[in-house]
């Protein structure tokens, strides 16, 4: 298990689109350098996340996994969408109240991390990673990260465990 590292990266990539909104607002306000820094940060987070997924595939214990139920987990989530878009509603970049925004994002990130909500992850989704909620016969629900399109619940998979309740599919596509 990677635990805190995987949790931190998945949470970061889940809320990273808000940085793109800030980058857009900053760019429109003539702060191109800050906008570029934010975009680079987002790209770096995605690359590191993919690196972690690769590391997990090659270094973590593999486990045979058969789900009893599968539910698409990366559906529209209003909370995330509002967070992503809120910076756009700000009149000007200089008018952003950082004393409110920074703690708000930190708290949101903490809630996402501790509530295992990081399966809403559009950046990894763009790279064809899908997030599913999968149930086991023991009655526990895990978040499965995979590049496969799940068609049957009982498809045998080979997974690695990233955190307590997050597994990544490492079998052939």
């Amino acid at each position: 298990m990677l635990n805190w590292l995987a949790k931190l990266l998945l949470t970061s990539t889940a809320i990273a689109p808000v940085l793109l909104s800030y980058a857009w607002v900053a760019y429109r306000a003539g702060e191109a350098r800050q906008a570029l820094v934010l975009v680079v940060l987002v790209v770096a987070l995605v690359v590191i996340s993919l690196g972690v997924l690769h590391y997990a595939k090659t270094q973590l214990e593999r486990i045979s996994f058969v789900a009893t139920s599968v539910e698409v987990a990366d559906r529209e989530n209003m909370g995330f969408l509002l967070l992503y878009l809120l910076p756009l509603f700000t009149a000007q970049y200089v008018a952003l109240n950082w004393e409110v925004w920074v703690p708000a994002i930190v708290i949101f990130g903490a809630v996402v991390a501790t509530g295992y909500s990081y399966h809403f992850n559009p950046l990894l989704g763009l790279l064809q990673w899908h997030f599913y909620k999968v149930g086991t016969k023991e009655g526990i629900t895990y978040v499965l990260i995979t590049r496969k399109q799940m068609r049957h619940a009982n498809t045998p998979l080979e997974v690695v465990q990233l955190t307590e309740y997050v597994v990544a599919d490492v079998g052939d596509r």
């Binding site: 298990m1 090659t58 270094q59 973590l60 214990e61 593999r62 486990i63 045979s64 996994f65 058969v66 086991t136 016969k137 023991e138 526990i140 895990y142 045998p156 080979e158 997974v159 465990q161 597994v167």
Partner: protein, 288 residues
């Protein structure tokens, strides 16, 4: 299909299982080791006989017992999703009370478990262990363990198949199984024409594993068929052992220690020193 390695840990009187996380390359290697050990375990065996108290079967035999309640955890662990099995604390695995390492698979609804014994000697952290690195030996400071050279049992078809009771009892509690397996022989012994046993059930309950081994040896040796109770009583008195006779039959004592003393004598493990006449009890014999 990935195979995971599990540990059976003795916690109090029950066995609990934990998952041992391995690097994927090592997982493949461990799976191969278990597969080879299974082939070796089954090699030359063409009969599986129900356990009857024997310590070792013949070369072409394996012994079998029904899976006792405490050992059901082996198959249920293999049948469960490995994610639901708690991971072993790798930093302190020497304190986990590991008694066995095992792996297995469920194919077409049939579960097979391959079990290796695990002893404290396999934990390398308890001793000084050296490993070679950059042309010099260094001390191993991280926790490490070795795998056993063979299987102790295979669990399949609701049976535990094994070759050595001694090894198997290091993994599961064999006391009740041994008692059940040898009850028939104990009863047969108690009903021998040269013995009188007041209460066979109480006698059976009073015999422990050592006594039952001695009963088995006595029956195999045919001592009671060869010598009369009178001759046995006379010989016993020379070693300081009082044997009661009733209607020309040996009266079996009721106290476990006295039972054991009589059984030791019947196995010629109690004797008088040839010079001093001092009574001795031996724990091994070698014919000369």
């Amino acid at each position: 299909m990935a195979k995971n390695l599990f540990a059976a840990c003795r916690v109090g009187t029950e066995l609990i299982t934990k998952r041992i996380a391995l690097h994927p390359d090592l997982q493949k290697l461990v799976a191969k080791i278990f597969k080879d050990q299974e082939a070796s375990f089954r090699a030359g065996v063409n009969t599986v006989v129900p356990f009857d108290g024997r310590w070792t079967p013949d070369e072409d035999e394996m012994l079998s017992i029904s899976v006792p309640a405490e050992a059901e955890v082996f198959a249920s662990t293999i049948e469960a999703s490995a994610l639901s099995i708690t991971s072993l604390n790798t930093g302190a695995f020497a304190k986990e009370g590991i008694k066995a390492l095992f792996t297995g698979a469920t194919v077409s609804g049939k579960t097979k478990v391959l079990v290796q014994p695990f002893t404290a000697q396999q934990v390398l952290g308890k001793k000084f262990t050296f490993f070679q690195q950059q042309n010099v030996f260094q001390q191993l400071t991280d926790p490490a363990f070795t795998m056993a050279g063979g299987l102790v049992c295979i669990i399949e078809d609701g049976q535990i198949k094994f070759k050595s009771q001694q090894k198997l009892r290091s993994v599961i509690n064999m006391l009740e199984i041994y008692r059940a397996a040898t009850d028939e022989e104990v009863t047969s012994f108690a009903n021998h024409a040269s013995l009188t046993v007041a209460d066979v059930a109480k006698f059976s309950a009073a015999t422990n594993q050592t006594s039952r081994k001695l009963i088995h040896a006595t029956m195999q040796g045919g001592i009671l068929d060869t010598y009369t109770p009178l001759a046995i009583e006379a010989a016993a008195s020379q070693t300081g052992l009082k044997v009661d006779l009733l209607n020309n039959k040996i009266v079996m004592p009721t106290e476990p220690n006295n039972i054991k003393s009589l059984l030791l004598f019947l196995n010629e493990s109690r004797y008088a020193g040839p010079l001093s006449g001092q009574a001795y009890v031996s724990n091994s014999q070698r014919a000369v």
